[in-house]
Symmetry: C2
Subunit: 294 residues, 2 copies
Amino acid sequence: MRSLLLLAVAAIAMGAAPPKKLLTPNDIVAGAPAGDWRTIDPDNLLVMDLAKGGRIVVQLAPDFAPVHVANVKALARGNYWDGATIYRLQDNYVAQWGLNESDKPWPAGVTAKPPAEYTRPLNGLSVKALGFADPYAPGTGFWQGWPVAYSPKAGWANLAHCYASVGVGRDLAPDTGTGGELYAVIGQAPRQLDRNIALVGRVVEGMDRLSSLPRGPAPMGFYPDKAQYVAIAKIRLASDMPAAERPSYEYLDTDSPSFARYLQVKANRHDDFYQMPAGGVDLCNVNVPVRKKA
Amino acid sequence: MRSLLLLAVAAIAMGAAPPKKLLTPNDIVAGAPAGDWRTIDPDNLLVMDLAKGGRIVVQLAPDFAPVHVANVKALARGNYWDGATIYRLQDNYVAQWGLNESDKPWPAGVTAKPPAEYTRPLNGLSVKALGFADPYAPGTGFWQGWPVAYSPKAGWANLAHCYASVGVGRDLAPDTGTGGELYAVIGQAPRQLDRNIALVGRVVEGMDRLSSLPRGPAPMGFYPDKAQYVAIAKIRLASDMPAAERPSYEYLDTDSPSFARYLQVKANRHDDFYQMPAGGVDLCNVNVPVRKKA
């Protein structure tokens, strides 16, 4: 590093243009103009505060699972999750929370048996194609910040199960899950779940908190002892919080020039550390930039 | 579930064959005959015991990075890692350990500047092709239990950066990393690192322990305060441990009929929970079965 820096200083001193820095994905995100960011609707932010500290915020995706998302909102507004816990962490798979094995009645506005919102019509989504091979779907890309898999021929589209994706736990079919139990992906993208379960969004804050909880020792990562359960203080929609307390987030518009540059560099790292650009990137390794607004 | 079980019981009572259970990947692993498993050489097992409890075991891959692996063995045998810590956890990326910023001299047998063992010749590896698209390499598959990416045309092969893969931290080129600082992948496969860094193996025990450590709050996941460092009690090769204490592991032979069935079902889940088999699987979502031997 030292010799490189010295060369750069020498070039500037001689009046030459400084050597062009090869940008990292983070550089591109940091330099993206304000106009390339989109604020997330506070009515689509589910804010989960843990009793012992830590906040996990989920951005909801009503365009992909409208009935399940409406349920999640009704559950939050109806205080259904009072007393809820995180009760399952299966390593390299999911963290799961809610009211495990509860017989609490559903609050008003909850559809007890939603339709199987595992895919939606591709029609109506102008997906920006990623353009690299995918082992799970004929097409992949992005729509309004979401990673999407799709089939142009069959006409379906689905949110992809990536790290931080949030879905609705369900029993065997015909059950589709009501929304009282949610999970987030904490490992390698379990894309085999795509088209088999309703995804309702993704974690935009607090993945580090969720993913560093102890794994459950029972089969499938359940905590066998209720003393191990991680208590949730409250789950609210940001839109129901006092304005002064309400957190706000924005994502990099996946149709913006900044995102196109970000994608280009994610697939072709040529900054100092890299010697061999990959020439491709996996849908779930793109990680659409999301950040907290001041 | 209840009605399905009742049907099965009725069929057996009538003397008919019970309905065939649709196997999960775990069912196939549990049923694999002893002859389909291969014992891991104890000379290729690095056993890391944490001071506050917990063991992380790494299977080394001398066929992919022989000089780096020889270094790791020499570092273990030379007690280089006395006083080492886990000092970095970057969420959805890596856990890193060793002697951070140490000026301790290398023990005997360590090559201070190994060659860039980021790829090896494909020639000599009879890779069992996975057969599904990959965004990072023209070919992917398995060789002696390892997930491998390769180019038949260019003739290179490399270990793939998957969840639990272990690599050698390095500075900018021409540095290739000596082996004193190692990292393990704790999130979505960072395949952009393939062919840019030396992988020396994978964690076969203790990923749950490693991945549930607190993420570091400093840039790149470093712990800013040394009080947060996770102390390592000792790092030894299994072959240097007393026979009675030595742990032993075996992997499912990736050329075996059981592995072929496992792969088939991983790519086409048709057991009770799944309604829509994917028809493919990502190299890093296969997870070659490895288990402890009694």
